[in-house]
Symmetry: C2
Subunit: 361 residues, 2 copies
Amino acid sequence: MCAIRLTQTVQKGGCAAKVAATELRRILERVRFPARHPELLVDGSTFDDAAIYRVSPELALVQTIDFFTPIVDDPYTFGRVAACNALSDVYAMGGRPVTAMAVLAFPLASFESETVAAILQGASDMIAEAGANFVGGHSIDDDTLKFGLSVTGYVHPDRVWSNQGARAGDRLILTKPIGTGTLMARLKYGEGGETGIPGVREAIESMATLNNVVDLLSPGLLGAVHAATDITGFGLSGHAWQMARASGTSFRFGMDRVPVFEGARVSIEEEFLTKAHRTNREYTAAALEDATLAPWQKTLIHDPQTSGGLLLSVAPEAAAELVAAIRPRFSRAEVVGEVVASEGTTCIFFDRNLPGTPHEL
Amino acid sequence: MCAIRLTQTVQKGGCAAKVAATELRRILERVRFPARHPELLVDGSTFDDAAIYRVSPELALVQTIDFFTPIVDDPYTFGRVAACNALSDVYAMGGRPVTAMAVLAFPLASFESETVAAILQGASDMIAEAGANFVGGHSIDDDTLKFGLSVTGYVHPDRVWSNQGARAGDRLILTKPIGTGTLMARLKYGEGGETGIPGVREAIESMATLNNVVDLLSPGLLGAVHAATDITGFGLSGHAWQMARASGTSFRFGMDRVPVFEGARVSIEEEFLTKAHRTNREYTAAALEDATLAPWQKTLIHDPQTSGGLLLSVAPEAAAELVAAIRPRFSRAEVVGEVVASEGTTCIFFDRNLPGTPHEL
C-alpha cells in the first residue's frame, strides 16, 4: 500500500516515546499552577489521565490528548491505532467520545499526501465507529511523523470512573492482553515483519480495537465498576500502581491469569526492549513485589502498551458477569487480580498464581 | 535565564512551520469523512479554524488546537506566545476559553527540566489570565521542541463569530500590527538579538497578548461584529481571503491604515523571509490585487503571523466606537479596510490608500 515503512522513519515508536513519569514529575514540580476551577472534578495535570470538567449537574466533559510516533508500518493501521489509543482515555473515565481533533506532524518533503491521507482515514473511521465527530486539528512540517488526537467526551458527573475508587475485595479485570511494547520493538528492529512474527497481527488488531466497554454494560454492571484506568506507556505495573495509590489500596495480580500476546515472551527473552521497560521498572520499584515471577514476566509487567486494555476494579459479585458481558468485543478479557487493603503502604504484588481458583475469583 | 537559545534548536519557527493550505487541501481531499453531527455548527475540518459543537440551546463548545516550534529564545516567553496563539482561536469565534491541555514535545536528553518548566509556566500564566484552567496534556521525547495547546471554550450558539458573516459596507478592524514572520526570521538568522533589532520587543509583547476582545465590548458592540478570524500562518492575505470567500464578499485594504511593527519593512527588504511568504502568495494569487503596493508591502501582506491579531468585520456605524473600546488593550488597533460586494468573484484588494479619509472609514 505504501512504499515507506513508517516504523523505519522514527527513533522511538508509540507510547515508548513518551516522557517517563519520574521525569515529568520533576518538571511539573517546578511549575506554579493557579487554583483550579471548582468545575474541574478530575485534574489531568499529571499529564496522563483525562480531565473531567463539569458543565452542568447532568453533564461533564472528559478531555484528553495523546499522540505518538508510528509503531506499525501501514499508515491506515497507524491512524486506527493512534485514534483508539487517544479515545481510550475517555472510555477509561466511563465517558463517550464526542469530538476529536488531529495532532499531526510529518515531513512534508518526503511523505506522499496519500500516506498522510491514509493515516487520517484510519483515525476518521475509528472516530466514526466511536460515534464521535472529527472536527479539525493542527498539522505541522516536522522531521518525524507524529499523530494523535485531542478528544472531548461526555460523562455524567456522578458516574465518572476515576482511578481513585478501588476497594479492598474488588476484582481486577483487564480487557486486552499485554505485550505490545516488546512485539512492536521486534517488528521495528527484528526480522519477519507483520506476518512473520507470531503475535504481531493479533497485537495490532488489539491496538486498533476501541476500548468501548461502556456500551456493553447494563446499568447494574456500570455501577459495579469502582475504578478504572487504561494501560498505556507506563505498563501494567505503572498504571496499576497509580490506581492502587490513588485508591489507598494495594493490588495483587496472578500472572497465570494475565492475558499475554503470543510471541511476547520470546520477544522479551530475545531482548527486544525499549527505554520504557527500564523507566517503568524504576517508577514502580518502591512498591513492587515480584519475587516469584519468571525472569521474562518481571520484564513483561513493565512492558509499555500502546492502545492497551482497560484495568477495571469491580465489585467481586459482578466480576464474572462483567467479563462475560464484554467478551463479545474483548475475547481475551480476564479477571487478573484483586484489590487488597494497603496496610499503610501501597504495594503492587505480582505472583505467578493467585490463591483461589479462577472460579473463585 | 537559559543557556539554550530556543530558536537555534529548530529549522522552522512558529506558524511558518505549519503545513501550507494548498498542501493540506490536497491531503484532505483524499479522506472520506463521515457525515457530521447536527450539533457540529462550525466544522474545523479545514484544520485551521476552531470547531463549534452545540451542547444545548444555550451552550456550545469552541474547540481548537495549535502548536509550533519556538519563535523566541526565552522559554517563559515562548510558553506565553504559544498559549496566546492557541487561545486566540477561541476569541476569534467570540468565545471564552475554559480548559486547555498542553501539546509538548522536546529533546529529553538535552533540555533542562527548568527550561521545560518555564515554557509550561508561561502557558499557565496566560491560561490563568484568560480565566481558563490548565487541565493536563501530553508530552513526548522528540528531536525538536514543539509546544502548544488544545483549547475548549464556551460560546452561546446564537452568538458565534464565524468567518462567514462579513457584509458589504462593513469596516475591517485589525487588532494587532503585522510583521512577526519577518521579524522572527531576522531574530533567528540575523544579528542583534531581541534587544538589538528594532521592533522585535514590540512584536514579542504583541504575540504574548491575549486576543481577548470579547470582554472589552458592550452587548451592542458585540452584536455589531458580523464576522471574525485571527491572523496567523496564512498572513493577512490568506486569512482575509478565507473570510471574504466564506462570506461571499470581497475585501479592500488600505495599507496606509494597516499597523506594522517597526523594523518589519527593513527586515523584508533585507530578505528575512520564510517559506510561508511564498506559499501564502501562491495560495491567494488568484484573488489578489496588489498592483499599487510598494515591493516590500507586496511581501508584507503575506507575512505569516504568530499569535497575530483578530480581523473583525464590523457594522460601519459601530467601527469607530469599537476601536476606541479595545484600544486600552490593543493600542494599535485600526480600521484597515472595508467589505465590498464581490460581483461574483471574491477578490482581496490591497491599495496604498483607501478612498475616503480615515475619519470617514
